[in-house]
C-alpha cells in the first residue's frame, strides 16, 4: 500500500488492528461479501495527483470559463459579497460540524440558525421560519405540499404562470409523483374566484419572472374565503423595500436567499427559506431551532418540534428533508447582520437606480420596445427586441457581457444590481447601439 496524506494508518498500525480483530488481511473483513461482488479490476479513475497538480488543474479549468459581467437574474443575482462572510463561514468549527444533534457542543450552529429564523421572520413579517430548504424552487414545492397537508381533503393548487420557470418546473415535478393537481393560471384572481372544488393553496410571486412587482391586493381574502392558503414566492433582498408576505395576508412565504450575498457559483449551493403563520407551525418541513435553558438556567438553543421530522415520524413526517443548507443560512445571516436595515434599503436603491438607467438607455437605442410600460420593477426587467436576438447576445458575449437572455415569449431579460457601475452600463449600451 502506498502512503496517502488522508490515511493516517501505517503498515504497522494495520497489522496491530488486524491482530486485535483476529483476521489476517483487510479482505478478510469482507468475508461476508459474495466473492464475485468483490471488484477485482482497476478503477477507471485518473491517477492520484499531488495537491499542487490539483490546484493547477482547477486553475486551468477556471480559466476556461471566461469572466463575464453579469446582467441576468432569473433566480440567481449578482449582488456584492462582503469580504467578511467567507472568513466566517470557512471557520472549520462551523464548516466541519454535522447537524447540531448534540446541542451542548453545537451552540454556535444552533444560535446562528435561531438568528437566521429571526431574520427571515423580520423580512417576511411572518411568525415562524425553519432552519432552511435546499433552494427557492424546492421550497416552493414544499410549500405546495404543506398547503395540501394543512387543508382537509383538498388536493389542488393554483400557481401563477408568472412564477420563474425553474419554480414552476419544481412544483410540477413534486406534484406529479405526489398526485397533486396543479393549475397554472394566467389570471389568478379570476381562477380562484371561479372555485376549484378542492383548492388547497395558491402560489404567487412577489416579483414575477419578468421582474414586475405584482399587486396582490385582496387576493389573500379571496383565497381564504375559498378555504385555501396563500403562498408568496419572494426575493428576500427585495422584501426590505416591498410589501411583505404578512402585509399581503399570505400564510406561507418561500424563496431563494441567494440574493442575500451568496455567490452565483453556477447555481449552487444556495439556500431556500420558508416562513409561515403561527397556525401552521407544526406543519413546517425541516429543522427548527428553539430557545430554552439548561439545568443551571443558562439560555441555550435546541432543535425543537422534532415530532414533525423524518427521523421520528418516518413516512408520516411533514417532509423527507434531512440535511438542508445550514452553512448557506449562516452565509445569509452574516450578510444581513452586516447590512442591517439601512444597508438592505441601500442595496435596493442602488439596484433600482442602475436597472432603471439601463432600461431607459436601452430604450433610447431604438432596438427595443417596452413590454410592461406601466408596471413597477426593481432590478430586473424584460424588453421586446426589435433586433436579431442571437446577434445581440453574441455581440454582448464577445464583449464580455452576459445579458439579454431570451424568454419563452421571445422577449429579452436584463438585471442590474448595486455591483454595476455607470461605466459598465454605458459600455453595454454602446455595444447594443452598434448592432
Amino acid at each position: 500500500m502506498g502512503k496517502f496524506c488522508y490515511f493516517p494508518q501505517t503498515e504497522e498500525d494495520i497489522r496491530v488492528m488486524l491482530k486485535r480483530i483476529g483476521v489476517a488481511s483487510l479482505d478478510d473483513l469482507y468475508s461476508d461479501v459474495p466473492a464475485d461482488f468483490m471488484y477485482k479490476g482497476e478503477y477507471d479513475l485518473p491517477s492520484a495527483m499531488s495537491e499542487q497538480q490539483v490546484r493547477e488543474y482547477f486553475e486551468g479549468l477556471a480559466s476556461r470559463n471566461p469572466k463575464l459581467k453579469c446582467f441576468v437574474g432569473q433566480g440567481a443575482y449578482d449582488h456584492y459579497v462582503p469580504s467578511v462572510i467567507p472568513y466566517i463561514t470557512s471557520r472549520s468549527e462551523f464548516l466541519t460540524a454535522y447537524t447540531p444533534y448534540q446541542c451542548e457542543i453545537s451552540q454556535g450552529t444552533l444560535r446562528y440558525i435561531f438568528e437566521w429564523q429571526s431574520m427571515i421572520c423580520a423580512l417576511t413579517g411572518l411568525d415562524v421560519a425553519n432552519a432552511s430548504m435546499y433552494d427557492g424552487p424546492t421550497a416552493a414545492a414544499e410549500a405546495m405540499r404543506m398547503c395540501v397537508a394543512s387543508t382537509r381533503k383538498r388536493n389542488s393548487v393554483i400557481v401563477a404562470a408568472s412564477l420563474l420557470p425553474i419554480v414552476l418546473d419544481n412544483i410540477r415535478t413534486y406534484a406529479k409523483y405526489a398526485g397533486i393537481n396543479v393549475v397554472v393560471s394566467e389570471s389568478i384572481a379570476e381562477d380562484v374566484a371561479e372555485g376549484v372544488l378542492d383548492l388547497a393553496g395558491v402560489i404567487v410571486p412577489s416579483i414575477n419572472r419578468y421582474g414586475v412587482v405584482e399587486n396582490h391586493d385582496g387576493l389573500a381574502e379571496l383565497v381564504h374565503s375559498m378555504g385555501a392558503l396563500l403562498v408568496e414566492y419572494c426575493d428576500p433582498s427585495a422584501l426590505a423595500v416591498l410589501k411583505t408576505p404578512a402585509e399581503w395576508g399570505a400564510d406561507i412565504a418561500v424563496g431563494d436567499s441567494q440574493s442575500l450575498g451568496i455567490p452565483m457559483c453556477y447555481g449552487g449551493p444556495y439556500v431556500g427559506f420558508m416562513a409561515c403563520t403561527q397556525a401552521l407551525m407544526r406543519k413546517l418541513p425541516g429543522r427548527i431551532v428553539g430557545q430554552s435553558t439548561d439545568a443551571s438556567g443558562k439560555r441555550c438553543f435546541v432543535l425543537t418540534l422534532q415530532a414533525r421530522e423524518q427521523h421520528i415520524r418516518r413516512e408520516k413526517a411533514t417532509s423527507n428533508i434531512c440535511s438542508n443548507e445550514s452553512l448557506m443560512a449562516l452565509w445569509c445571516t452574516v450578510y444581513l447582520s452586516l447590512m442591517g436595515p439601512e444597508g438592505m434599503r441601500k442595496v435596493n436603491a442602488l439596484s433600482y437606480e442602475n436597472a432603471h438607467y439601463l432600461y431607459s438607455e436601452l430604450l433610447k437605442t431604438g432596438k427595443f420596445e417596452e413590454v410592461f410600460p406601466d408596471q413597477t420593477f426593481l432590478k430586473e426587467f424584460v424588453l421586446q427586441p426589435l433586433c436579431d436576438v442571437e446577434k445581440l447576445q453574441k455581440a454582448l458575449l464577445d464583449a464580455g457581457y452576459f445579458a439579454a437572455l431570451q424568454t419563452e415569449e421571445g422577449w429579452v431579460t436584463f438585471c442590474a444590481t448595486e455591483k454595476h457601475s455607470r461605466e459598465e452600463i454605458d459600455a453595454l449600451v454602446n455595444i447594443v447601439k452598434e448592432i
Partner: protein, 457 residues
C-alpha cells in the same frame, strides 16, 4: 469551549452600520407606489463590521467539528474534509447558472468527469447532479423508478418495500414520492428476512430500498437472491448510498444488481457537512433508466455545483491508487473499536461489521443509559456516536470512525469508552447529569417544545 451568551440582535445600536456600498441610489420612498411598498420597519440588527466578526467567531468557539476532534457519528461518515477542496471553489463563484455552455467549458468538464468517476466507483451508467442532499437523492431516485414503470404503462406499481432498519429518510422520501410503504422485517442476525420478503413481492411493487451495508453496519449477503426476486416480480432495486463508504474501492452497487442509487458527496466524498448542509446527493442509474435521468426537475439549476467541485478535488487526490484503501481502512477502524469494547458494551450481533456497528448500551448499565454515555463522551472531547438509531435496539449506540482516523485516536476513544463504563459502575449519578465541561449542560427540551420560542423578539 467557553460559554458566550449573545445574539447579534442584542449587539444592535441605532446608527451603526457594517456595510460599505457606493454612494447614490434611487429615492425608493418616492419611486415605489405606496400600495406595493413595505409598511413595517425591518427588524435587523445595526452593528459594525468588527461586531459581526467577533460575534460569529465567539459563536464558532461553542461548536465542535471534524477539525476539532473525533466525530464517530454512525451513518454520517464524518471523515476529514481536505482543505484543497475548499480552495478550488471561489474561482468559480462568478458564473451565472444560465450562461450558455460555450462560456462554461471548465464547468462542463467538472460534470462530465464527475459523472465518469462516480460511474466507475459505483458501476452505474450515468448520474444526475440535481439533488442537493441524500434524502433529496432518494426522492429523485424513487421518481426515476416511478418514471420507468409509468413509461411501460405499468401503473399499478405504487408500493415500495423498505426494511425496518432503514434510515428514516427512506420511508419519508417514498411518501413524498406518492408511494405506499411496505415494511420488510429483519432477522435476529440483523439482515433482511428473505422469507418475509417473498410474500410481499407482486405486480404492485415498484421496488425495494436497500442500505447495504445496512444501518447495523452489516453486509446484506443475501443481496444476490433479493435482487433476483425483486427483478423477477418486475420491481427495481434502490441503493441508499449513505453507507457507501465501506464499499468505496471494494464493491460496486451496480454489480450487486442495483438499478438506482444516490451518493452523499458530503459523506463518502469528503465534502464538509456545514452544520447540516450544503450537501449533494447525485443519483446514478443503470442503462435502462438513463432515458429518464433528466426528467425530474428537483432543484433550481444544476445542483450544488460548489459541493460537486469539492468532491471532484477529493477524487483527483484519491486517484485509482488510493480509492481501493478508503473502504477497507474505514471497515478496519470500525471492527477494531468493536473488538476493543465488546467486553464493556453489549454487542447484539457479533459478526464482522463494515464501516459502522451498533452496541446496545452498557453490559453492566447500573441504570446508565446510552444518552448518559453519549453526553459523558462530550466531556472527554469526543463527539457522541449516533444514538437510539437504528430502532431495532433500545439503547443503540452507532459508531462509525471512518478511514481518516489514526490508531492513536481510536485508542484514545476506546480508553474513554472503557473509563465511562467504569464510571457507570462507580458513580452513575455523575453520568446522569453529564456533560459537565461543556458551554451548557443538558437543555430543557420539553419546555422548548411546549412553549416554542423560535425567534428573537
Amino acid at each position: 469551549m467557553k460559554y458566550y451568551d449573545r445574539l447579534v440582535f442584542e449587539l444592535s445600536k441605532p446608527g451603526r452600520i457594517g456595510f460599505s456600498l457606493p454612494e447614490g441610489g434611487a429615492d425608493l420612498s418616492a419611486e415605489l407606489p405606496a400600495n406595493i411598498a413595505r409598511q413595517s420597519a425591518l427588524g435587523l440588527p445595526e452593528v459594525s463590521e468588527v461586531d459581526v466578526v467577533r460575534h460569529y467567531t465567539n459563536l464558532s468557539q461553542m461548536n465542535f467539528g471534524v477539525d476539532t476532534g473525533f466525530y464517530p457519528l454512525g451513518s454520517c461518515t464524518m471523515k476529514y474534509n481536505p482543505k484543497i477542496n475548499e480552495e478550488v471553489v471561489p474561482q468559480f463563484n462568478g458564473i451565472h447558472p444560465l450562461q450558455p455552455a460555450c462560456t462554461t467549458e471548465g464547468v462542463n468538464e467538472v460534470y462530465e468527469k464527475m459523472d465518469a468517476a462516480l460511474a466507475a466507483i459505483t458501476g452505474m451508467k450515468h448520474f444526475t447532479f440535481l439533488p442537493c442532499a441524500g434524502a433529496h437523492g432518494e426522492l429523485t431516485g424513487l421518481m426515476l423508478i416511478r418514471e420507468y414503470h409509468m413509461s411501460r404503462g405499468d401503473l399499478a406499481r405504487t408500493k415500495i418495500i423498505v426494511p425496518d432498519s432503514a434510515h428514516g429518510t427512506n420511508p419519508a422520501s417514498a411518501a413524498v414520492c406518492g408511494l405506499e410503504i411496505v415494511v420488510v422485517k429483519s432477522k435476529e442476525n440483523g439482515l433482511v428476512d428473505v422469507e418475509d420478503l417473498k410474500p410481499l413481492l407482486g405486480p404492485d411493487i415498484a421496488g425495494i430500498m436497500m442500505t447495504n451495508p445496512n444501518t447495523l453496519g452489516l453486509f446484506e449477503h443475501d443481496i444476490k437472491e433479493i435482487a433476483e426476486l425483486v427483478h423477477e416480480c418486475g420491481g427495481l432495486l434502490y441503493y441508499d448510498g449513505a453507507n457507501m463508504n465501506p464499499l468505496m474501492g471494494v464493491v460496486r452497487p451496480g454489480d450487486m444488481g442495483f438499478d438506482v442509487m444516490h451518493l452523499n458527496l458530503h459523506k463518502t466524498f469528503s465534502t464538509p457537512h456545514g452544520g447540516g448542509g450544503p450537501g449533494s446527493g447525485p443519483v446514478g442509474v443503470a442503462d435502462k433508466l438513463v432515458p429518464f435521468l433528466q426528467t425530474p426537475r428537483v432543484s433550481g439549476f444544476h445542483g450544488n455545483f460548489g459541493v460537486i467541485l469539492r468532491a471532484y478535488a477529493y477524487i483527483l487526490m484519491l486517484g485509482k491508487e488510493n480509492v481501493k484503501m478508503a473502504g477497507r481502512l474505514a471497515t478496519l477502524g470500525a471492527n477494531y473499536i468493536k473488538e476493543s469494547l465488546k467486553d464493556c458494551y453489549k454487542l447484539p450481533i457479533p459478526t464482522v461489521c463494515k464501516h459502522e456497528f451498533v452496541f446496545d448500551g452498557l453490559l453492566n448499565d447500573n441504570g446508565v443509559t446510552t444518552l448518559d454515555v453519549a453526553k459523558r463522551l462530550l466531556d472527554y472531547g469526543f463527539h457522541a456516536p449516533t444514538i437510539y438509531f437504528p430502532l431495532l435496539f433500545h439503547q443503540a449506540i452507532m459508531i462509525e470512525p471512518t478511514e481518516t482516523e489514526s490508531l492513536e485516536t481510536l485508542d484514545a476513544f476506546i480508553e474513554v469508552m472503557r473509563k465511562i463504563a467504569a464510571e457507570a459502575a462507580e458513580d452513575p449519578e455523575m453520568l446522569h447529569s453529564a456533560p459537565h465541561n461543556t458551554p451548557i449542560g443538558r437543555p430543557d427540551e420539553t419546555t422548548a417544545a411546549r412553549q416554542p420560542k423560535l425567534k428573537f423578539a
